[in-house]
Every structure is written in C-alpha cells, then in structure tokens.
Amino acid sequence: MNEIGIILKIFIAVVIVNNFVLFRFLGLCPYIGVSKDTDSALGMGMAVIFVMTMASAVTWVIYNFLLIPLHIEYLIIIAFILTIATLVQIVEMIIQKTAPVLYESLGIYLPLITTNCAVLGVAMLNKDTLTGETLSFIKSVIQGFGAGVGFTLAMFLMSGIRERLELADVPQCFKGVPIAFITAGLMAMAFLGFSGML
C-alpha cells in the first residue's frame, strides 16, 4: 500500500475504529467532566486537537533526537510529561497574546489538558506501537491529530445526548455521572460496529 493509503488508514483507525475515548479509555475525566453542554465540549475538543497534534510532533523530536542519541530512553516518562506540561503553558501564552478571542473560549480548558491522559497516551503510542517500531514523523503527527478528532467526535456526540438527558426522567441514584457512563457504554457498543472496517 502506498504511503498516503497508510496515513489515511492510521487516521480512520484512531478517529473511529480505535477511538481514544470509547475504545482505549483515554481522556475519560474531561469526557465525563466537560461534556455537560455542546459549546464547552467543542471548545475542549478544539484545544485537545491542537495540543495533541503539537505534542505528537514535539515528543517525536525529543525522543528521536534527544533520548535515543543520548541513550536515556528510560527517562521517557519524565521527559514526555515535562514536555507536555511546558507545551501546554507555551500554547496558552501564545494564544493569549495572538488570539484573545480564542483564548477566551479555550482559556479554562487549556491547563486541564496537561493531566489529560490521552495526550501522554498518544505520545507513548507513537513510539510504542504493537510492532514495537517508532512511527515516522508524519504518521505520528497524523495519529496525534486523528486522536484529537476522535476525542472531539466522541465528546460532541456525548454532550448532545447529555443535554437531552437533563430533561429525561432518570432514577434518582443514576442522575449525573452514572447515566453518562451507561450512555457511553451504549455509544461504545455502536462504535464497536466499526471494528471490522480495517
């Protein structure tokens, strides 16, 4: 298969088939916490797409040009988490200076992303795939971007459902988070239907 085909396959795989939230259980805290209304879900989703793409690119460079040449691959966890934390800070400052309107809408969600395990997860997945080899730079960035899109998709669908759930007559003890999880279960079941696609 040619390169573009493989890249397209990676993208579809992370967006739909191996959706980060519904299949790999990454980034559940914001998924449950911020999906109460559609606007904040979309805001969070955009911030995550941006940070994940950037993080994939930066951690790839750090891993291949810093950790491997110096033979300090065992420091990968510390290196990656610090890189991501710094990156989130820088992105926050840049957006604040250059695009105040965007900052207004993303503002509160940006710092939260540091502890979003999906970001560290995609960075680790880029270097440690099932075959044990490192993805190329372009593929890493595509996988990061796709994972962000998949997260946003799941989050957007969920927020739409939850807005309706607010009005529904749910048993008292299932109100809020429990019913959100059961809904997520049904969504995951639907997404499981894509699993034969690739």
Binding site: I78, T114, G121, F174, M189
Partner: protein, 213 residues
C-alpha cells in the same frame, strides 16, 4: 491545624471518599485494566505503590523546605509546586514500570500503556496537592495507603463483575462450568462503561439510604 485521626484517614478512601465511585478520579485506568481481576489487582497495587512513595516524598520535601527556607522564598517555591510534584511522581512511575517489566513481564504486557500513564492519574497528583503538601509524613502515608487500597478494591470489584459475566471465570478459575456462555461484551469496552455506570448508581443509592437514616 485541625487534628486528624489516623484510622479515619485510613478508612475514608474505602467508602466515603472512594476515589472511583465517589470522587470520579482515576477513571481511565479503572476501566481499561479491569477486564480481569488479576490485571485489576496489578494495576491497583502499582498505583498504590506510586501513591505511597510520592505522598511520603512530597510531604517530607515540603516540610524540609518549610523548615530550611525563609518564608519569602518558600512562598515562591510554592508557586512551582505542581511541576515539582509531577517530576517526583514521574520518577516513581519509572521505577514501578521497570520493576513490573523485570519481575512480572506478563502483567506488564497486559497493562501496557497504562503503567506509564499512572503519571497522569488524577488521584496521585490530587492527593499530593490536597493532602501530602499540607500534612506530616505519617498521616500522608496512611492517607496514601487508604486511598490506594480503596482504589485497588474498586478496581477488583469492577474486575470481578466483568470477569465473571464476560468470561465466566474468577481469577482464571471457571465459575459456572462448561455450559455457561459468557457475555463477551463485558470484557470489551462497552461492558466496562456499563459496569461502572451501574456500580456508581448502586453506590449512590446506598449513600442516599444512609443519609435518610
């Protein structure tokens, strides 16, 4: 400072402040690694080890800094405490990752990505920020032990339900005999969401009954 009793700090992690069912912290590893009781126990105990080590270290670090530095400088240090905590936690996670790879290679392979992801488990940073940085070493240790065991117990509960329904087994032993047809969906992703949803509903119901009297 309010006096805190050791037993109360130990037991709060089990029911009242159970990290998963009541505080909704650490959900990602809880769902991802609870497909069998063995994985759930492995993940729970690894997290507990990191939690205890980081809580003790951070509590000591903060106490020493408070004693040795003058107030002005200490307040400045306080502003960069979160990156400091993360580095401490990441170091311990690296240690646990290598211990698992060395001594329990099969378990390490099963847990996979979720061992390095202990770093971003909200429970650990949450306890460091909310408890260890404000209390002494003994209390921090007890708090970490209680929270960690509460987390392990919740994971095992999830794992038990999912393994029995999804594979008809408990700890790898067959429960229902040959003719039982397991509902495989429970060891897959949707089953994890459904199980945790129903267990949370159950916990809410119990606590609302307690409140009524």
């Amino acid at each position: 400072m309010k006096k805190l009793s050791i037993t109360a700090e130990f037991f709060k992690g089990f029911i009242r402040e159970n990290p998963i069912f009541c505080l909704y912290l650490g959900l990602c590893p809880a769902l991802a690694t609870s497909s069998s009781v063995k994985n759930a126990l492995g993940m729970g105990l690894s997290t507990t080890a990191v939690l205890i080590a980081s809580n003790i270290t951070i509590s000591m670090l903060i106490s020493i800094l408070r004693l040795t530095l003058n107030d002005n400088f200490f307040n400045k240090i306080q502003q960069i405490r979160i990156p400091m905590f993360i580095v401490v936690i990441a170091s311990f996670v690296t240690v646990v990752d290598f211990v698992l790879k060395g001594y329990f290679p099969a378990l390490s392979k099963e847990l996979g990505l979720f061992v390095p992801l202990i770093v971003v488990n909200c429970i650990i940073l949450g306890r460091a920020e909310a408890f260890a940085s404000k209390n002494n070493v003994v209390l921090s240790f007890v708090d970490a032990l209680g929270m960690g065991l509460g987390f392990t117990l919740s994971l095992s509960l999830l794992g038990t339900v999912r393994e029995i329904l999804g594979a008809g087994q408990f700890m790898g032993l067959s429960v229902f005999g040959e003719n039982f047809k397991p509902a495989i969906i429970f060891v897959l992703a949707p089953g994890a969401f459904l199980t945790i949803g129903f267990l949370m509903g159950f916990f809410h119901h119990i606590s609302s009954l307690h409140k009524k009297g």
